[in-house]
Symmetry: C2
Subunit: 279 residues, 2 copies
C-alpha cells in the first residue's frame, strides 16, 4: 500500500500541472468507503512511527527529524491535512507553523530566516502550512520582488534543503492540487456557513483569477526544486478522503525509510528494578 | 457533568496534599467502562470549542488564549494527557512546550524568561508540560537556589499570572497526584517494556526518595498560588481514565467560560458570492 501510493505521487520530470487529473486517486483502487478503514489503520501506524522517532531522539545521538511541507492553492485542503493527518499523532512530537504574509520584521531578513526558526527539533515532525515556496509562488505571480531576486531562489532553496537533509531532516514535500471548479465549490461552502466565514478571505478570489499564473509558478517549483534528496509529491486533492490517505502514506513512507528503533537502555535494567523496589 | 467535575477539583484553602485520595474520581460516579463514551463525546466538544477559540482570534480584536499548566511527579500521567486530551484537538491551535532542566542560556535569565517565550498566541491553547512551578518545586526541594530566592517566587508567580489573565489568557492549572505505590507500578512498567526504556530515568528514583519534601513543596504551591484569577485544580491520577476525563472537563469549563462565538463576516457575503460565481 504505502509504497504504491508514495511511488505513484512522486513528481516525475516532464509531468505537468496542467495535465493533472485532480480527481484521480493514484495508487488506490477503492472508493471513499473503502478508504475509511485503511485510513484508521494507517493513522495508527503513523502514530506508532512518530513515537519511535521521538523516542529515538531521546537515546544516544539521534538527531533526525521529519519536515512535512504543505503547499496548495486556497481551499486545497491543507487545513484538513493538519487536522486529520497530523492530528492523529502525539502533539508532543509535532511542531506546526503556518507561514502567512511576512511581518515587517520577517521582511527585514532573508526569505529563509523565518523558515529556519521554525525547523523541527530532533525527534519531531515539523509541519509547514505554506513555506519558503511562497517566495517563488505568490511572490513571483504578484511581482513582489524583482525577477532576478525570485529567480535566484530556486537554487537557494535547493541548497538550503540539501543542508537540511545533510543535518538529518527528511523532507516530505507535498503539492496539493484541486480543480478550479472544486475550489469554487469549497469557497462557496465557506460563504454558505456562518461558522466558516472566518476561513474566507476576499483576497482568495483575486488569487483565483490568477490561476494560470499560479499553475505556471507551481510548474517551475516542481521542475526546478524536485531533487533526489528532497523530491516533490503531487497530490490530486479534489477528493479529500484521498489526499488525507495519500499524505498519511507519504509520512509513513518517510518514517519507515528511517529504519527507526526504540533506543536501548542507558542504565542497567536489573539494578534499576532493585532500586525501585527498595524505594 | 462539566461543572460537577471542575468544581469538585478546584483547590479549596485548607485542603491538604497528604490527605488526598489519589484513587478517587471526584464528580464522576461511574467506572472506567462508563467513562469511555463520555470521554469520546467530551473530546469532541473540546475540539469544537478549540476551533471556536481559534476562529474567534481571526475575527476582529479577540486576543484571548488558554494556557493549560500541567504539574505532577514523574509518571503522574502528564504525557498521557498531552497524547489523549490535547491530542483530541486540532494541532493547528495548540502550542505545546515541555520544560525540562534549564539550559545554560535559560539559567542566565530570570526564571520566567523561558516561560514568557512559550506563551500561546491569541486563539491558541498553550500546553505547559511542567512549567514555572518547577522553580518552586524541584528548585526548592533540591536547594538549587537560596531560600530567599525561591521564597520570593510565589508572589512573583502570582503577579505574572495576574498579568497573563489581564492580557486575556485563561489559566487552567492542574496538579496531578498519584500515590507512591502507583508511581512504583508505573516506573516498573517502563523497566518491563524495552519500548518504554526511553521514558525511564534513574534520577526518577532519587526524586522519589524525596516524596515527603515534594508533597510539602506542592502544598506550598497550592496554598500560595491558588488565586481567584488563576486557581489550582487538584486531580487524583491513579486512575488514568479519570484524570483524562477530568482534564478534558477542566478545559471545556475554561473554554465555555469564554462565551465564544464564530466571528461575523468582515465582508459582504452576497457580494463575495457573486464575485466567486463570476470567477
Amino acid at each position: 500500500m504505502t509504497s504504491t501510493i508514495a511511488e505513484a505521487l512522486r513528481f516525475r520530470p516532464g509531468a505537468t500541472v496542467a495535465g493533472l487529473d485532480t480527481s484521480a486517486t493514484p495508487g488506490f483502487d477503492g472508493a471513499k468507503a473503502d478508504a475509511a478503514p485503511v485510513q484508521a489503520a494507517r493513522s495508527e501506524r503513523l502514530a506508532e512511527l512518530q513515537e519511535m522517532l521521538y523516542a529515538s531522539s531521546k537515546g544516544a545521538d539521534d538527531h533526525r527529524s521529519v519536515l512535512l511541507v504543505l503547499q496548495g492553492m486556497d481551499a486545497a485542503g491543507k487545513g484538513g491535512i493538519v487536522k486529520h493527518v497530523v492530528g492523529a499523532v502525539n502533539p508532543m512530537g509535532v511542531r506546526y507553523t503556518a507561514f502567512g504574509k511576512p511581518t515587517p520584521e520577517e521582511l527585514e531578513h532573508d526569505f529563509l530566516w523565518r523558515i529556519r526558526r521554525a525547523l523541527p527539533p530532533p525527534g519531531h515532525i515539523g509541519v509547514f502550512d505554506r513555506s519558503h515556496y511562497e517566495d517563488v509562488l505568490i511572490v513571483r505571480v504578484r511581482n513582489l520582488v524583482p525577477p532576478e531576486v525570485w529567480g535566484a531562489r530556486y537554487d537557494e532553496i535547493n541548497a538550503f534543503e540539501r543542508e537540511l537533509v545533510d543535518s538529518g531532516t527528511t523532507l516530505v514535500k507535498v503539492a496539493m492540487f484541486i480543480s478550479l471548479e472544486e475550489q469554487k465549490e469549497q469557497l462557496l461552502e465557506r460563504l454558505d456557513d456562518p461558522t466558516k466565514y472566518w476561513k474566507y478571505n476576499p483576497g482568495d478570489v483575486d488569487e483565483r483569477l490568477l490561476w494560470p499564473q499560479y499553475q505556471e509558478a507551481y510548474q517551475a517549483v516542481l521542475d526546478r526544486t524536485s531533487t533526489d534528496y528532497a523530491p516533490w509529491h503531487v497530490v490530486p486533492a479534489d477528493r479529500r478522503w484521498y489526499s488525507r490517505l495519500a499524505i498519511t502514506e507519504l509520512l509513513i513512507d518517510a518514517l519507515e525509510g528511517l529504519d527507526l528503533s526504540y533506543p536501548a537502555a542507558d542504565f542497567d535494567v536489573a539494578t534499576e528494578r532493585r532500586r525501585l523496589l527498595d524505594s
